[in-house]
Amino acid sequence: MLALVVAHLVVAVALPLVSARSRRAAFGVAAVLPAVTLLWALAQAGPALDGGLSATTAWAPTLGLTLSFRLDALALAMVVLVAGLGAVIIVYCIGYFGPDAPEATRSAAGLLAFAGAMLGLVLADDLLTLYVFWELTSIASFLLVGQGGQEREERRAAVQALLVTVLGGLAMLLGFVLLGEAAGTYRISAILADPPRGGLVTAALLLILIGAFTKSAQLPFHPWLPAAMVAPTPVSAYLHAASMVKAGVYLVARLAPGFADLAVWWVPVLAVGLATMLVGGWRALAETDLKRLLAFGTVSQLGFLMVLLGAGSRIAALAGLAMLLAHGLFKAPLFLVVGTIDHATGTRDLRTLSGLRTALPGSAVATALAVASMAGLPPLLGFVGKETAFEAFVAGGGVRDWTVAVGILLGSVLTAAYSARFLWGAFARKPGVDPTPVHRPEVWLTGPTWVCAAAGLALGIGYPLVDALASSYAAPYPDEDGYHLALWHGPGLPLVFSAVAIGGGLALHRMRSRVEALAHRSPVDAQRGYERTVAGIGRVAVAVTGRTQVGSLPGYLSVILVVFVLLPGTAAVVAGSWPGDQPLFHAAMQVPLALVVVVAALALVRARRRFTAVLLVGVIGYGVGGLFVVDGAPDLALAQFLVETLSLVVFVLVLRRLPAHFTEQRPPARVRVPKAMVATAGGVVVAGVAVVLSGARTAPPSTSAEMIRLAPEQAGADNVVSAILVDFRALDTVGEIGVLFVAAAGVASLVLATRYDRRGGRRAVQSGQGTPQHEEDVLG
């Protein structure tokens, strides 16, 4: 399974090579892997439904990290959506993106990479593996929504989607760690086999639910999904309807068998799910853009799925899995139809579209099929799922179940209403609107739509297939009444509910002008909430930065020194002890060297010229180097002398741009005295702490002797310092030269970047960053 996932990512990286020759061929190549994945998964269906199929690859065994994958009923259902719809939608792209559309290259690679990440997500059997793929899908979504980033709308939508889902993702990661530690394992199948309980698990579940809610666009995080509709339609169809937004639902479905009996689980899931279903459905009735209408419909359906898959009863789970498949199979073709209409007429506004029923009869029939499934009409899969959903909560009885039953009935009324609105808006002939001119869509556009819509019909009639899948998923729940998915359960409350939903929906659609006006007036706007939150965070950041980063070097130094005096200084005074046998010096040469250093330091404080100060700092450095020589550390001394020399040179080079004197006038005493006090305290504490620390060792260091013993044979070095640098502690060395590399790049950018800003007098100000001259300069 790892190989399949990796193959997706590798081919995605290589795909631009193909699309350089032919954009259409790139999509053709991209569609092959998802199709292969679908066939592979279907071939494995037997063992998958019969307990599951596992594969584990060690990743970092010493850290306990593994890449574990498992194909079971739920994963299989998701693979059908991810790989099956993926292949169909990528084929649709051949027709959607013209042969020379600039975004085609990016979209082909992005869609395939996303398919790989999503496949990894649904197959993962390890919490951390799941997390990695979860974030990869967020990144793929960001890239696909943002596209080239030329449009402000695209950038805003992409950033919003990324911020919201990554916020949830990070919360979820915390939850995963808590859950994994509480259970003692990160294997999902092992956790579900023996679900842990306790306060830690409560916190973990809440955090995980935040992740699921953000990803699946639940209230109040939902606005990112309608905003993401700026993406090309195939991207919306795949990521924002069929697969990625189901990741949250999938996670809830995955964990529900182990935790659905806990109130901390089912209360938020049912409450948020129901609220989302109602709000999404209501908002869909106000939209005039067909794509945004579908987006709010998706929000609503995701809430419905959340309720079904999180409720934790067998029938609800059956209904949930059926609806999961049904939603993918009716929402994807609806999006594809919107893309086709957009392509054929150049608009998606249902106020200007008219008479497409006769102009695009094939698409109209396919849409009618998908819409019927969405509204819950027999004999489509949506009907089977919805019927079972009503049964799940009607049969349960009790306040909780009846509340949910009424809630999903209301939601279904809204669903039927916006389904009718979509069909009417896209295809009906509207009085007073001229028939929209149409140019015929290619078969690449209509074919995939038909495949999806027909699959919804086929699975509705062939419900035993779905039943086998759903029963395998629902197996962990106790089977009390032997309920199974079926097209006809006989007359009963669920059938009445279905009829009420359809009838109510049609009635609402009848009163559309009044409903639309009402739906426009929404008391709270979650999008405004998001914008206020982001702007507020920005303001807080500016305020904090403004207070802490004041831009005064003495200010920063004072903070550092005061903290040093307060923390390590206090610790040394309280806990340390002055070494009793500290000699004043142990080699005669130390005395003159120390004197030189002290005198230079005193003179440095009095220096008024920068050049003098730099030279005196050099003297101090050489003096310290001399002390190293006296103490028998030639390597250290050599490095010290060389670095000191180089710093001197660099200082002198920089001094050319600075005034010769520090300040023209002596600063007043109220500035100088506190500075002097802080500096003195800092110096005294540094010296004192150094002495206290040097006396704190009570036993000879064990590592030194080992290093000296091992250096010749293990590192092949007689010089133990060198052995430490290039062998024992070689990783540190590599890290340090990395730091040097960054520092050099920083110096070059800073010095050379300011150059073009200063030419303002002569011509328009050019920002240094990013101009061709600047880049050339920085690169040498």
Binding site: L653, A715, S722, T733, I737, F741, A744, E776
Partner: protein, 167 residues
């Protein structure tokens, strides 16, 4: 490359003859190659005595500083054809590749081995593979010094000239 007037006529900018310090220039001529050879020695001797890639790189860098200060070669582009960032990158690449290479032989990252060979004339020769890491460090440090001379040396000089303050 650059947009200053001096560069446009092809040659690297030279300072006026009045400023040239002949004694320093002559000394540099003699010292420059010697110091470079010495830095090579420090690089190789690091395993057995004071030295190593860091010190050797600084010594070589200081040789270039000398070349820059004596003023005979303008902004050093005439001395070193390679662009400093390339030297830095090469050094980092060599170091990282040395770190990763043992993996190909199934050993942990950053482990080193001793290579011994009998060469004609030289007799038995030993080579610790960690010397390659040291070479990476050496190149990187030389590159950093060259880059500093380029940005803080020649760059500031050019700014001064542009501002009409400099020599």
């Amino acid at each position: 490359m650059s947009i200053t007037g001096n560069d446009r006529d092809g040659a690297a900018p030279r300072r006026g003859t009045a400023e040239r310090a002949l004694l320093l220039e002559l000394t540099t001529r003699a010292l420059f190659p010697t110091v470079l050879v010495f830095s090579g020695y420090l690089l190789l001797v690091g395993h057995y005595g004071p030295g190593g890639g860091f010190a050797a790189g600084l010594v070589a860098g200081l040789a270039f500083v000398l070349r820059y200060i004596d003023g005979s070669s303008g902004d050093l582009r005439a001395v070193v054809r390679v662009r400093p960032p390339v030297v830095i990158g090469t050094g980092l690449t060599v170091a990282v590749l040395t770190a990763l290479a043992p993996v190909a032989w199934g050993a942990p990252v950053l482990s080193s081995a001793k290579l011994a060979a009998e060469l004609p004339l030289l007799g038995s020769v030993e080579l610790q593979t960690s010397v390659f890491l040291d070479c990476g460090v050496y190149l990187l440090i030389v590159g950093v010094v060259l880059d500093l001379l380029r940005s803080l040396g020649a760059g500031i000089e050019r700014d001064l000239r542009d501002a009409g303050e400099g020599p």
